[in-house]
């Protein structure tokens, strides 16, 4: 077959062409509808993408912000995780009872009542922070800039445990007190409290509860001292309050005496409103 024959055959193939019923206006109308639908689809996708970005920002921002400038206290060991060790650490201090500086980065204490989640436990800790700040300022005269933070940096928070840190300023500088609340199902016995520290004496109260007093001293110079009071309540909960002669959060100079007296620690530990429930 030659190319000429092919041309001729192709022309002949369309010889029986049916009549064309073509409406240009209908086509243009349809094209405009397609264009409008495409525009709507693009707008919908843009709105969806913007919503996703906004939601991501809203959800991630509080986590990012709360991760900064917060003293984190380990609920079980009582270790302050973002403090600067300047003074020595008491050699007789039990890891389960006293705060130890572990980081060289100075940390500040977040304002009391700052929490990021809205679950009941967090709300309870927020309320406790506010109350403890007021109560501490009332019990310990001559302090200012009192800030309280309850935090738990454990990967899996334990039930019945809460650790708080009270930061304050007085005439000699900054100081700190660790408050630890324990309750069922977490058990905290008097043996646990006295492990590694010197338990001075105990006080049995009329309601059946027991108060333990303990002291820890490094024995070195300068002597790093901590006083701890634990109230073992009749309902099984324990409130432990520990004061130091240095600032456990920021280090700094070592004082001659612990700025919070045993009587003041006792008032705080036996305060019925300091409770996990």
């Amino acid at each position: 077959m030659s190319e000429a024959e092919l041309r001729k055959s192709l022309r002949a193939a369309v010889g029986d062409e049916p009549p064309l019923d073509f409406d240009a206006d209908a086509l243009i109308e349809r094209a405009q509808g397609v264009r409008a639908a495409r525009r709507r689809r693009r707008a919908l996708v843009a709105v969806g993408a913007a919503t996703v970005v906004l939601m991501g920002t809203v959800l991630s921002l509080p986590g990012v912000l709360s991760a900064r400038d917060v003293v984190q206290v380990d609920a079980l060991t009582g270790r302050v995780l973002t403090t600067a060790p300047v003074g020595a650490v008491p050699s007789g201090t039990s890891p389960s009872s006293f705060a130890k500086p572990t980081s060289s980065v100075p940390a500040s204490v977040a304002p009391p009542g700052v929490t990021t989640s809205a679950d009941p436990a967090s709300r309870r800790l927020t309320a406790l922070s506010g109350y403890l700040a007021d109560r501490f300022a009332a019990v310990v005269p001559g302090v200012w800039d009192v800030r309280v933070e309850f935090a738990d940096d454990r990967a899996k928070p334990a039930a019945g445990l809460a650790s708080g840190f009270v930061h304050f300023e007085d005439d000699e500088g900054s100081g700190g007190v660790v408050v630890r609340l324990t309750g069922p199902p977490t058990a905290f016995t008097r043996d646990d409290f006295c492990a590694g520290v010197r338990c001075e004496h105990q006080q049995k109260r009329a309601d059946g509860s027991v108060v333990e007093f303990a002291t820890s001293s490094s024995g070195s110079s300068p002597d790093v001292v901590s006083h701890s009071v634990a109230h073992f309540r009749a309902d099984g909960t324990v409130v432990q309050v520990t004061g130091y002669n240095y600032d456990p959060a920021q280090g700094g100079k070592t004082r001659d005496v612990v700025p919070v007296t045993l009587d003041q620690l006792l008032i705080l530990a036996t305060d019925p409103r300091l409770d996990l429930r």
């Binding site: 077959m1 190319e3 024959e5 092919l6 041309r7 055959s9 192709l10 022309r11 002949a12 193939a13 369309v14 010889g15 062409e17 049916p18 064309l20 073509f22 240009a24 206006d25 086509l27 243009i28 349809r30 094209a31 397609v34 264009r35």
Partner: protein, 176 residues
């Protein structure tokens, strides 16, 4: 789209719809599909009508769109052609007039049937070169390939077409 552009498109569509449908028919071998291809191509052309560079050669662009639309349609799984290799029942065609069904008509149908056996891209090259009478350079633009590829596809397409014509011719002779 501005009113002037819309009028220009309208004029183009009215003037070229029939030609585009004919080319589409030679591509696909079915007038209904050809009509769909023509409509779809003109819709796409309307969306791109604002592109200034194509205003001087809207016919070439329309051919390109038509070819792409057809090749895209062929690639879709639900558009794959049915394999019609079974025995067809011998039924008398009452509309066929033996006087009209002369040798020319027979040859025309034979070539068209053989064309449908040629692979799609080779078929497109043959249609554009021998039906549209386009030079190799314009076929290359429409196909989106080099001129050398157009020439080689043309040569292969002609060989395939001739083989298909001979095969169909033998089958007709044997059947008769």
């Amino acid at each position: 789209m501005r009113r002037a552009d819309e009028q220009a498109f309208r004029d183009f569509a009215v003037g070229h719809a029939a030609a585009l449908r004919r080319t589409a028919f030679l591509f696909c071998g079915d007038w209904h599909t050809a009509e769909d291809l023509m409509q779809t191509s003109l819709l796409k052309l309307y969306q791109a009508w604002h592109r200034v560079e194509w205003r001087d050669h809207p016919s070439a662009y329309a051919r390109k769109v038509l070819l792409r639309t057809w090749l895209d349609e062929k690639r879709r799984p639900w558009r794959r052609a049915e394999q019609r290799d079974g025995e067809l029942p011998e039924v008398a065609d009452s509309s066929a007039d033996p006087e009209l069904a002369g040798e020319r008509l027979w040859a025309r149908d034979l070539v068209h049937a053989a064309l449908l056996r040629v692979p799609p891209r080779q078929r497109a090259v043959l249609v554009l070169r021998y039906f549209e009478d386009l030079p190799v350079s314009e076929v290359a633009v429409a196909m989106g390939c080099t001129e050398g590829t157009v020439k080689s596809q043309t040569a292969r397409g002609l060989v395939t077409l001739r083989a298909a014509v001979e095969e169909l011719d033998r089958g007709v002779v044997v059947a008769s």
